[in-house]
Amino acid sequence: MGIIIDKNTRAIVQGITGAQGSFHTKLMQEYGTKIVAGTSPGKGGGQIHGVPVYDTVEEAQKKHSANASIIFVPAPFASDAALEALENGIKTVVIITEHIPIKDAISVMAYAKELDVTIIGPNTPGIITPGENKLGIMPAHIFKPGSIGMVSRSGTLTYEIAASLSAKDLGQSTCLGLGGDPITGLNFIDSLKLFENDPQTKAVVLIGEIGGNLEELAADYIAKEKYLKPVVAFIAGRSAPPGKRMGHAGAIIIGKAGTAETKIERFRDANVKVAEKPSDVAELLSKLL
């Protein structure tokens, strides 16, 4: 089980002829993901790691009817690629690309909402259901199949925490990167809902960071809806100064809004355990299970 992706996921890789696209196509295939086609405008006709390459998504769709897409297209062209996937009936779109303008992301999300498409990212490592498949760039060996759902705004921090969970035999159902941008597709609340309905998931690890108020809203949701599964949170950026963008476009405290303190407080108010250090997540989880 796990969420969003499963054995029926048939994906196309947009931007498959680029260095990243081609490299990760191979890794995803090796992990068991069904990559049915790739696109690269002007470079259609050949194959990359045995995957047929097309100029456009429409052409790829006619022959392969994929239901998911993963995008490695450079930022200035990425929103166009996403809209192309949406318009051609793809239902799950993972946008790996970093540095997509906010205005472009907003227009993609609006169209996705209208067509009821799930967008993961942008600026995300993607999604992995350990032992089954992945649509993403995460190093698979860190993850282990199990019952912990993970949702995060950060890539390497997820790997850090996933590795410490795996080391303690706390395997994962699905690990999902929401993306480090201010405007993303799925958010924490969406992910919590999906994990609540997934029978394999027994507990959730939520990894947030400074900027915005989506962690706060997730905390309120957990309290108000009496969320059924135990949640452990970690928030990065306690030492971050206001007004500075900490690597991710979305990781910025504006005035007094979006601080780690506010987020941590709201989770504590919702009776969610908050880890002080990344390695504490595994310990807190062990106590709850």
């Binding site: 993303t184 597709g185 963008r245 900490m246």
Partner: protein, 382 residues
Amino acid sequence: MKLFEYEAKSILAKYGIPTPQGGLATNVSQAHEVAAKLKPPFAVKAQVLVAGRGKAGGILFVNSIADAEEATEKLLNMHIKDIQVRSVWIEERLNIRKELYFGITTDRLNQSYLAIASAVGGMEIEEIATQTPRKIIKLLINPQHGFHTFHAREIARKMGYTGNQLSELGRIFEGLYHVGMDYDAELIEMNPIVEITNGKFAAADARIIIDDNALFRHPEYRKRLLEGEGGLTQQEIEAMENDLAYVKLDGDIGVIGNGAGLVMATLDTIQYYKGKPANFLDIGGGAPAEKIATALKIVLSDPKVKALLINVLGGITRCDEVARGILEAREKIGVAKPMVIRLVGTNEEEGKRILSEAGVHVLERMEEAAQRVVEISKHGGK
């Protein structure tokens, strides 16, 4: 990228939004020239890219050209929050009846833009929201259809205006929305937009922050940012040119890592063990050796740095590349400061071998590494 007030105001003026008559001066004789063309009294405003300028004494009100010159001299000799004032904007002082607020920001939950208005203005919008939450008017902008004349009029009505004033204020709000969209603003605000005693309106202050990720559509601003006119330090520019994310902090432990969240968590862990990070530096994914060397050079250019922590969890970043980069930097720029290195993940064994053969010890756990570097920063290392 933050724009200066004078830039923001000139853009607003191009879109037909009334702004006070004024001009820019970088020295006293220019101040004289500018003021001579305007009607006194004047407001002389330091052009800096930090908030809280007014409270810090960066705005002076004067009645004559001579006083404007004096005020200019005073401001040009001033630092506001450690930033040297390099220019002032001199404008005709408005007879203000009322200060209002209007701005457009992003709404993360609803994945769109949000217009925010208030019939109280002049202070930070968060402050307005805390002090008079009932005065705040919010309108979520439909991402597919945008912000229209009727939306703008409705906001003006809710702020208490009628008749010509309602239409005029609405026209200004609509204009600001178009500026925001055309310039890819992640934040645009008039704070305050003021009602003058003659019943007209003007943007007394304006702020535009362009979405850095959209600067490829605005090459003139990107160029200016890289030329150092956007308020960035030399290190920040070098980092930007090399696609590194660097933020200077005021501690003494230099930090380099891969991935924004991991680096933030590394800073937090250092702080947890009572150390003080000197910076945030994210080398991103898949960094080659040269990039690691550039990162080291940037971090070590801060004289306050006593020790260095490198925390890399290799996914697409390869540990052997990181190891080579560290040695390359050591050779080229001579790293004399003690380094604590935590290196795990892809090609970990090779990375460790390269470093240990060069006499550099590598740790496996992030907490252990953070503790060690804090110790060294306080008591000195080997």
